[in-house]
Amino acid sequence: MNASVIAHLVLILVVFTCLLLSAAAMVYMERKVAAALQQRYGPYLVGPKGLMQPFADVIKLMFKEELRPKASDALLFAIAPMLSAAAAFAAFAVVPFGAETTLFGLLREPIELGVADVNVALLVIFAVTSMGIYGIVLAGWSSNSKYSLLGALRSSAQMISYELSYGLAIAAIVMMAGSLSLRQVVDGQAGYWLHVIPRWNVFPQIVGFFIFMCAGVAETNRAPFDFPEAEQELVAGYHTEYSSMSFAMFFLAEYINMVTVSAVATDLYLGGWHGPFLPLSLGWLWFLAKAFVLLFFYVWMRWTLPRYRYDQLMAFGWKFLLPLAVVNLLVTAGVVVYLG
């Protein structure tokens, strides 16, 4: 084993751990921001400023009893949360998050920050996300409970509907970059227009960015599109019957999916690790900052906007977002052809 293989293994471990920690951080942030928006304190007892609250939650969940409804399908009931969590983690594997770096001279050869560089990375993300549906559908079906089933049906219909707009928004970016590799998409966004405006895709593709974020929120089943788990109607949707660690896995999957969508949006639209002031080897700091802004936006939206009605959601997806995405794609194609 040479140094670069070891470096890669370490990188994979670090990314995995960071994803876990990011989920914990998101839980904390979510609760704190929610509290701030509702003029309360939020968690403040466990650790300084309540920072240890997510870990206390994890310990609580670990020691809870694992319950399973009697009429459920034992095998699928156990597999469903694993599928959800695995798909969430796997999607991040092809997301690059930094330029080549030697980590302050720690390594002899520079490594690229990102677990795997696949030349069809965008499609891989798409494929893995679509596998995530199975976790939810199986959870809903195997629980043998009407709330779970309704939640699962809603969520799969929602995810399939919004996947179209999601894909078309990405297709416009692919046309501009001329590549399906995320790293090449990011590298195409280096530099400035007129020395001031960064060449980020968000400026020419503002409509695409809007579509991507709407579809992303719907794909991750977050408010205001959180029908699969609409508490007021469906108890807790597809994970009504889950408890303890299997519930924790769904919870984890939800937050990691959010992180992945934000990371992909950063790569696609916000120039990834390119930004002023910092050298390229420290670009991952920019990446983190941009992804954090998007994640904050996610949380902010959840606690500000009320939930849509289900038919409104479907109408929004099919009658507004999809036509908009098609028009955006056509216009982009025309401009790309015109500019050669």
Binding site: F126, S130, Y134, W141, I160
Partner: protein, 167 residues
């Protein structure tokens, strides 16, 4: 043996085992899920065949769309399990059918064995480029491509008409 030979046998075995279980399974839910496993193995084989774009498409279209549709129907109909007593017993036509399927398998294998080994002759051209696929698809196959869009429209209308409740 090289890595790709191991992978070929592994993925092939997974595909065959999963397909056999799809057919031999009495619970339609499990059948659908096992078929997805089989499709995944085929996607792996496509990667071995230097068609990564197709492999991903296979997962997106088959795994992400078609199979979800099947799963939906199985869930919504709450499909009863097949009557076990009647599966392998019963009618002569069914025994005849099994015999025919086995005959087909033997015949195909025999015919293929006679072909002689067609190996890789030297370096194969790289056919994995998405750009190349797109160019051929939208030039040489443009009529088929447009015809497909009509097919999809027909299927769309047909599915809605048929699944609609009669008033």
């Amino acid at each position: 043996m090289a890595m790709d030979v191991y992978l070929f046998y592994l993925l092939g075995a997974v595909a065959i085992a999963a397909s056999v279980l799809v057919v031999g399974q009495r619970n339609p839910m499990y059948s659908v899920l096992l078929l997805i496993v089989s499709f995944m193995a085929l996607a792996g084989l496509y990667v071995l065949l230097n068609a990564p774009f197709l492999a991903v498409t296979q997962i997106i279209i088959y795994g992400g769309a078609i199979m979800v549709l099947f799963l939906f129907v199985v869930m919504l109909l709450n499909v009863p399990r097949e009557d076990p007593a009647r599966l392998f017993g019963g009618s002569g036509t069914r025994r005849f059918g099994v015999a025919l399927a086995v005959a087909l398998a033997i015949e195909l294998t025999w015919a293929l064995r006679r072909l002689g080994a067609i190996g890789l002759r030297g370096e194969l051209p790289d056919v994995s480029s998405v750009r190349l696929i797109g160019r051929v698809l939208f030039t040489d196959y443009r009529f088929a491509f447009e015809a497909t869009s009509v097919l999809i429209l027909v299927a769309l209308v047909g599915a809605i008409v048929m699944a609609r409740k009669e008033s």
